[in-house]
Structure formats: C-alpha cells, structure tokens
Symmetry: C2
C-alpha cells in the first residue's frame, strides 16, 4: 500500500548517474571527496541504494567488458529514472523543505540545470527567493522579541541561523543574476541594456 519511494541518497545517486554513467566505486569516491559526503558515504549505504534503484528500474547496470580491466558495473539512467529525477526536481520549494536544511535544496538545484535546463534553474531560485522573503523576516522578528530573555548561547545560536538565511538570500540574488547574464551571452541577444 505504501509507495516504496526514493531516499535523498537515492536521488543524489540518480542525479549523478544522470550526469554521467558511473560505477558504484566512482560514485563512492565522489561522496567521499566532495561536499556531497553529507549524504552518507560508505558502501553499506551506497550499494544497497543502487540496488534499490536497479530493482525499481530507474537505472540499469552493465558489467564493463574491457579486456585487461577489473570487472566493474557501470550504471546508467533509464527513461523512467530520468522521469523520476525530473519529477523530484520539479517539486515546489516549501518552507518545510527550507526548515529541513539547505543540503537537500542545494542538491536539487545542482541537478536542475542539466536535467531541466537553465530556465528551470532560474525558476527554482525565484521560488526559493519568495519563500525566503516570507520566512526570514519572521525569524528575525522572533529573535528580536525573544532574544533578550533567552540564555546568551541560545540567542547566539539563533542569530547564526538568521545570518545563514540572510547569506542565502544574497546568494540567491547573485545566482539569478549569474544565470541571466550567462543566458544573455549564450543567446547573443542584441539587447544591450538590461534593467536592474
């Protein structure tokens, strides 16, 4: 009765495989060496997750037949895997998701460009901006009203959260601008002036 569903780690794997077919070992290295390590690591998580994706037909694996090479299984994304990824990426940006932490949002953003195009990436950023514009002031206000009667460390911890969101807001503006500039260059639009 329950939809099996895909875990965040599953989507991280799916997105990486969508970008480039890889073996489990390669994927593990990516998690181990980059900031993506926050979504697990270690074979005990990754190999079972890959097998779940395989069983559900979201990826397919072929053993590399190269002559002098070690045997290893290269996974590539299937059509239904691509569809599931795109559906996940298209989900609305909710305050709930923002509260759960930025890691998952950033993962989605990082995959959006290749999977859905730059236009959708901008769209994602705009929706994020709207949510932040509604949420951050209320957080700031809560801090202003209750900060004084909290222990100093609690107030500071909250302040750290507020600063993070404010930084995120500035980043969103920067990211939107960056995208628009890059799009304008690609299209080589004869439009000279852009309003700010």
């Amino acid at each position: 009765m329950k939809a099996p569903g895909t875990s965040v780690l599953g989507y991280a794997l799916l997105g990486l495989i969508h970008q480039k077919s890889s073996s489990g070992y390669n994927l593990r290295k990516i998690f181990a060496e980059t900031a993506m390590g926050s979504f697990s690591s270690s074979p005990g998580a990754i190999y079972p997750a890959l097998e779940r994706l395989l069983n559900r037909g979201l990826i397919e694996g072929k053993v590399e037949e190269g002559s002098g090479l070690r045997r290893r299984r290269i996974y590539r994304i299937t059509r239904s895997g691509s569809e599931e990824l795109k559906q996940w990426l298209s989900q609305p940006v909710t305050r709930d998701e923002i509260l759960r932490g930025m890691a998952e949002l950033m993962l989605r953003f990082a995959f959006t460009e290749q999977a859905l195009g730059a236009g959708e990436a901008i769209n994602f950023l705009r929706k994020l901006r709207v949510e932040l514009e509604a949420y951050v002031p209320s957080l700031r206000q809560y801090l202003r009203h209750n900060g004084a009667r909290m222990p100093l460390s609690g107030m500071l911890a909250l302040d750290s959260g507020v600063r993070n969101y404010e930084t995120l807001q500035r980043w969103v503006e920067y990211a939107i601008e960056t995208y628009q500039t890059s799009l304008a260059i690609k299209n080589r639009l004869p439009k000279k002036s852009k309003k700010h």
Copy 2:
C-alpha cells in the same frame, strides 16, 4: 560489545531536560515550534528516545501527582545523565563534525553555557574558529581551481557553501566578542540591581 550510545535526538532531549525538567509533551512542543524541529519531532521518535534515556539511567521520570491535572510524566536529569551530557559537550570540534553540518554543532554550543559555563562556551568558539580557519581557505581554493570547469549550477551550489562558512566565521568572531563583553560586565559590576 558495543556501547549503546546516544543519538543526536537523545542529546537534544537530554540538554533540554538539563535546562528544565519537562514532560514528553512539552519537549515535543519545543521541537515542533522552534528551529530545533530539524532534529525530528513526532511522538514516534521522542517517546522511544526518552525511554532509552530512562533505561540507561540518564534521566528519571516522576508522574505528576497534582490533584486536578492530567497525569503526565515529568523527566529530570540524573547525575550520570548530566555527566554524559557534559562529556558530549566537551568533545573536540573536528572538521568531520563541521562537514556533517552545523546543526549538531549549534546544538552543542547552545547547551554549553548552562552546562559548563561561559568560559567553556568561549573555548568551544575558539576551537571552532581554528577549524574554520584551516578549512575554509581550502574550500575557497577548490572552488577557484575547479569552478570554471564545472556546470554553472554546481559552481553556484559550492559557492553557497563557501558563503555559509564565511558567514559562520564572522558569526564566531561576533559571538566571542559578545561573550567577552558580557563576562567583563559581570565581573566589573559589584552587583547592582539585576533581578526582577
């Protein structure tokens, strides 16, 4: 042969109970209403976690005997619970922990002042500063060197991470200053009117 261990949620509960004896319901509300909600919520996680703390003797619960009241169990921390909390709070700040995300670090910081005193809170901040001073430049350098050959969205996502850490560094400076100022004031003043 394995030490049972306490989960992050367990420490969050332990720290809150250390600050103020509470019922499970009260604790749930704190998680539901504040930013602490990132560590779970929902009775299915909290009540079992409380029972584990109880079984390990880290907290004790007494049913409130108030006449006209609903029965509810008030938990208070035990000596060994207090010790375990302090030990957790005293752990060194490692880069590994920083990579796992700030939520847990901030939780530790928020509890440190009450459990170990303002001096230890400053100490925590200093250790965090040292780790960040070593880590952030390497992250920034990675972005400079590899950013150009990454997809735009990947570069931007990484940039967001760098900005977050830079914001955190500024926050650490601010927090240390705030603590030092507040300590200086407390020590200098011969206790004027402070209480209400």
